[in-house]
Symmetry: C2
Subunit: 420 residues, 2 copies
């Protein structure tokens, strides 16, 4: 009982034996800043994965990628396509779309690029066929609607698009899926179509950028931060004196760091999508990385989903592999919480959670994925997770005091260059 009381107290008081060894190891901030600066200088040297293209690898004829197109290019591409179809009808060859396949069998992980891309298989979608008549009609309608968006230069959500013709689309999965087809057919990103996803992410810290013409200073956004705009094409003029970008999985950790103004002690930009990465946050992160040439350090839960989220930011989701070049951020480092941190930082047993059968299966599946296998450090950590069958959330660090994350854990991680 006495022992128990002692342990309880030790979780509370940030200055006692359980974490003193870690706090004592911290060097002065200036020394830590020097370490991050050196890392930043190395990591922004042209890396193998970020600079190569499908063409460099001789894959441009067998793989397919979309690019950002201007509104007028999208418009003229649609017009050419429709003219081509009209000519085909007039010459007696009928009406069909040639649609790139987005199925798993047509996807490929390219290690040199460190992301998933789409291969070149396509399927014909003729109007004069009972099995494809609906889909080819929907495709035509979506093309027409996107053409309208180009002419008006406005953005709409997928939901808006669906509601323009509920009777034809029947449910939103059908218009959403054909919208992805249309991206592939036209060879442009979904953002180029002016169809946007609802916004979810927030950003705070040493970043200035323009959103639809307004200049935003993210050091002056209080604790709430700036909502990441849904339309990346109206984001520009990024400036920053940050040394790194801190990508945070969850809201709670983000709030802690924003309130403590962590970005003023260690100049950085803090960004979160509050869980599953959405397209807007992925585009925003990539744009920051590319324009500011900063290293990206990720703080995620120590569970298979944390790693999965990291992989979506880094290598893309299978669902949108046709657009992986624009949606992925190369060379994200796994800072924490890593399975080996649980023992290293003496996370109390009661803050670790047993993995469910499903967790363990997801973990084992991830071990088979190429984007995990190419990083031996990640394989080692994930193997440890699956072996110990333990997971932990970022919030588990609160057991050492609410500000342990910002005052001890992160500074020590940075000082020790403890990322993979």
């Amino acid at each position: 009982m006495a022992d128990k009381r002692k342990r309880r107290r030790s979780e509370l008081n940030p200055d006692d034996e359980a974490q003193l060894p870690f706090k004592n190891r911290l060097k002065p901030d200036s020394a830590i800043l020097q370490i991050i600066k050196e890392f930043g200088d190395c990591s922004t040297a042209p890396s193998s994965s970020s600079s190569k293209t499908l063409e460099d690898l001789g894959l441009s004829s067998t793989c397919r990628e979309v690019t950002d197109l201007s509104l007028s290019s999208v418009q003229s591409t649609i017009e050419s396509l429709i003219l081509k179809i009209a000519r085909s009808i007039l010459s007696g060859n009928g009406f069909a779309f040639d649609v790139p396949s987005r199925s798993a069998a047509n996807q490929l992980y390219v290690p040199e690029l460190d992301r998933i891309v789409l291969k070149d298989k396509t399927a014909l979608r003729p109007y004069a066929n009972i099995s494809t008549v609906r889909k080819s009609t929907i495709t035509t309608r979506i093309l027409q609607l996107v053409h309208q968006l180009c002419m008006k230069n406005i953005h709409v959500t997928k939901r808006d698009l669906f509601y323009t013709d509920v009777k034809l689309f029947q449910d939103q999965t059908q218009s959403d899926s054909v919208l992805d087809d249309v991206s592939c057919i036209l060879g442009c990103t979904r953002s180029s179509l002016n169809v946007i996803a609802a916004e979810k992410g927030v950003v705070v810290g040493r970043l200035i950028f323009s959103d639809n013409g307004d200049m935003i200073d993210c050091t002056k956004m209080g604790m709430g931060g700036k909502a990441i705009p849904p339309n990346i094409d109206r984001v520009g003029d990024m400036q920053s004196d940050a040394l790194f970008i801190l990508l945070v999985e969850k809201d709670a950790a983000y709030i802690r760091l924003a309130e403590d103004r962590f970005y003023n002690r260690f100049p950085c930009i803090i960004v979160t999508a509050k869980g599953q990465p959405d397209v807007a946050t992925r585009l925003f992160l990539r744009k920051m990385k590319m324009e500011l040439k900063l290293p990206v350090l990720a703080l995620v839960d120590s569970d298979p989903y944390g790693l999965k989220i990291l992989s979506v930011y880094g290598c893309g989701s299978k669902n949108m592999s046709y657009d992986s070049a624009n949606l992925t951020t190369p060379d994200i480092k796994w800072l924490g919480i890593r399975p080996s941190d649980l023992d290293k930082y003496k996370i109390p047993e009661q803050c670790r959670l047993p993995m469910t059968e499903q967790d363990i299966k997801t973990g084992k599946d991830l071990l088979e994925e190429d984007f995990v296998k190419k990083n031996p450090g990640w394989v080692e950590e994930l193997t440890l997770m699956v072996k110990t069958k333990q997971k932990a959330e970022i919030q588990a660090l609160s057991s050492f005091g609410f500000q342990y994350l910002s005052e001890v854990y992160l500074p020590l991680k940075l000082q020790q260059k403890d990322w993979l």
Copy 2:
């Protein structure tokens, strides 16, 4: 077929017969602005529900409400409580908390206040009783943690709080529920405890306010808008030249209005919690209404959940009835989409959705709720919804063109003072 083609086209082209009658009815913007100004002047005269308190109604002894307390008051209230308990133990009377009951039976809708309040029933939570020993231990621990937060002057999330003692709390519902108890015991709001909910809402338009010391101009937040801060106690200095606040249920409509900069044509503040209202957005809306004295107009889906969301903003949720005075915004007007709008604005059949059995049940239940019954206009609309068994989302207006919402529907609604 010819007829069908014609109808299709009519959904597309914003200028043709289906909506021309509505567009033609629009007066010049200056006339509409005058109408809103007059409404604002009337609606900000002291209204019956917003100014009265429990004390005015002679209910202060039978009902219980919490107030915003300063950190030092929370701290000293906790200290007095613990001293009282210590004295009780020393005098041989043992250790127990007197906890206000938050059950449905202890809740009351007060028509004069137009919100749900908590009655005065309490229950004893003794330590020396097998059925309450755990809960009284958890209560003590939460009090201790909140006391720490006061001394450090930092904010944490409920999730952080849970992780400080997983072994004791076991799961987060237990620490969350006791946290609400602690609010009631201390007689202060949850925000006063420095425990915050994750942020979700965004705001854009004619509003300037300070967030944690930074001045934020919401006309200069691009399309993304400003994330509503999780901690209302660090929000202040609100200034605005808006004529009204437009409360929007969903993200998609918010994005449309933000991109079109609707707030520049009709000076307003646009706010959304992206679905279910969270505590931060509810506090923020109330603060705007109270400090700026602006009318609030709500744009929600025409379904029972839209009305339910409206009622949570207006009258509070049952779960947090003890804090309804701080969380609710009096006198919110139901602008649209209202069931009668479906025919009035000729929303095409295919954009209306049939209500499910559950929808109809929820609608009928709402008809029995006091906060619906007190407004005959709402009863009429809800009765129509349940009778026609049809619902529609805000996005259904996209069937008349993507900008129909911002260019025709809302201006006409304002011009006709068509709110309830």
